[in-house]
């Protein structure tokens, strides 16, 4: 086991380095002068001085501003130097200072983590509490109307875009009950009830989407496990069906479900971008989208690295968990 853990962690480091290289390259692909686009499309950068004008897209940008921003972004230095500085900074949790907000990028991310984490955890809970019971019932009652309804609904859940569910969850309560989501965000420890109210709909919209694939996996795994000999033995012993399903079958069916959940975690991260935008929650996803629209490439670069790292860490944890649960993995 220890050897497996070491090997898996050794793979983790190059993954993160490769990820950082990809993100760095991606942001540098920006056609034209990134600094000029940033200034021209978003107005003047806070705190950067300058006079003397350059025309771009109808907006006037001063030469000094441009030089100051280039220097701030490090665009005036050779590529490899830019990359090394950025990665070494990232290792020390220093991703630079956003030229727009004037605050450190890690600080901006850090203070938004609790919002995204709460949304993610609640969505996961919603997803699992729908997916597992429905998946188990669907498998235990294979080819009955319950199974068909469960499957049709789960494919439906895969098909309905989260942003549409989210939009409808804002539109219809407001029409029917005159209920609007609060404009100001309330942290959990300030007012737990108001906070949970704020998170209920986005978590529901995100959770429904997650539940579909987890439910399908649960169902197919349960079907497989229920055909195993030890399940037949359990039944032959005269155990009640409920005990057979929950104590004997479900436990073993859950292992692959954990894998699908790690894949779903990627969707969850993407989903937070959408839900935080719709429901006006100040999370990391929202910050990322804002960085794209305000052309804050430095912030965007940092956010994408952060999201990718979180994704990689979750995959690492799931792999280790998997190896711990299923000893066969360690030896392959």
């Amino acid at each position: 086991m220890r050897q497996y853990i070491i090997r898996r962690i050794l793979v983790f480091i190059p993954t993160i380095l490769a990820l950082s290289l990809l993100i760095f390259a991606l942001i540098r692909v920006v056609p034209g002068d990134a600094a000029l686009i940033m200034l021209a499309e978003s107005g003047s950068a806070a705190g950067l001085p300058g006079q003397g004008q350059v025309g771009f897209g109808g907006r006037k940008v001063s030469n000094e501003q441009l030089d100051a921003l280039r220097a701030h972004l490090g665009l005036d230095r050779p590529l490899h130097e830019q990359y090394v500085t950025w990665v070494l900074g990232a290792a020390r949790l220093d991703l630079g200072v956003s030229p727009w907000s004037g605050k450190p990028i890690t600080y901006e991310i850090q203070r938004r983590i609790p919002v995204s984490a709460e949304l993610g955890v609640l969505a996961m809970l919603v997803g699992l509490s729908i997916a597992i019971p429905v998946g188990v019932i669907s498998a235990a009652r294979q080819d009955t109307w319950m199974d068909y309804v469960g499957r049709a609904v789960s494919i439906g859940g895969l098909s309905v875009p989260g942003f549409w569910i989210g939009t409808l969850l804002i539109v219809f309560p407001s029409i029917w009950f005159n209920w609007l989501p609060p404009i100001r965000f309330v942290p959990f420890f300030e007012d737990p009830l108001a906070n949970l109210q704020q998170f209920a709909f986005p978590a529901l919209a995100l959770g429904v989407g997650l539940s579909a694939s987890v439910m399908r996996m649960t169902r197919s795994q349960m079907l497989e496990v229920l055909r195993q000999d030890y399940v037949r033995t359990a039944r032959a012993k005269g155990l009640r069906e409920r005990v057979v399903i929950y104590r004997h079958a479900l436990k073993n069916a859950m292992i692959p479900v954990i894998t699908i959940m790690s894949i779903q975690f990627g969707h969850l991260l993407g989903g937070t971008v959408i839900m935080e935008t719709i429901f006006n929650l100040p999370g990391v996803g929202r910050l990322t989208l804002d960085a794209v629209t305000s052309r804050d490439y430095l912030q965007l670069q940092g956010n994408v690295l952060f999201l990718g790292t979180v994704f990689a860490v979750v995959n690492l944890v799931v792999d280790l968990l998997y190896a711990w649960l299923d000893p066969r993995i360690r030896y392959t």
């Binding site: 875009p161 197919s220 794209v292 999201l307 990718g308």
Partner: protein, 302 residues
Amino acid sequence: MAHVGGVRGLAGAGLVGRVARPNRLGTLGHFMRTKPLGAFGAVLLLALIFTAVFADVLAPYDPYKIHQGHSLVAPSPQFLMGTDEISRDILSRVIYGARISLWVGIVAVGLGTTSGSLLGILSGYVGGKFDFAVQRLVDMIMSLPTIVMALAIMAALGQSITNVMIAIAIVISPSACRVIRGTVLAVKEHQYIDAARAIGCGDLQLMLRHVLPNVAAPIIILATTSLGGAILSEASLSFLGLGTPPPTPSWGGMLTSTGRSYFEVSPWVAVFPGLAISLAIYGFNLLGDALRDVWDPRLRGR
């Protein structure tokens, strides 16, 4: 060559033995009976394709036309799905939206699966260091959640339909590459490959004439199942304001935040485009599931 023909002939014979070849309608009927949900999905997709192709004929109005004095009109005989905040007919925009969705989806999936598959074939066939390098590249792209990756690509390339297609293709290609590489590794071990090599086949000919046809089925399944995802990605990006630029009618774009303040008073603006996306993707998912069951039992339940 004779060996190849023989193997394929055998596989063909197996197929012919089960479902008589001349009776195409019978096969279709069989599919509809055993996979009613899949058949329903096919019907939805045919409707989607029909709508996209005949959008000019089906749409009651020009999707860009502003009907002065008719902003946010509720569904009525004149405007069956109502009008949006700048007085455009929603039904016409939904109909033309089918064209955009399908077009973006097909080009993106075509680009993504073709490049991914070719790279996968090459990677699996050549093996060694090249394979290792390609697979690490795939790991790299897969290490970001799809939407985040697409978002970053759109931020770098800028907003346009072509760039949406490129972004979605890049997001799709790694999984195609990985799946096809796996299949190629299995196909490579077959004797007919040795036989073809023995009679003097070159590498290129081997890959294109002998490996490619044998990995065609997974490529087709991948393409079908990716199409739904591609349409969803286009809609999501457009919803976030980074996809198909306005005023082009795109389903996701119609739901975007600019119109959002009107949704509470005029919910039809939000309902119909979302319904269209959901039905289209539902169709792809149902058909994709059924095709997977029929063609490739190994992938069943995944």
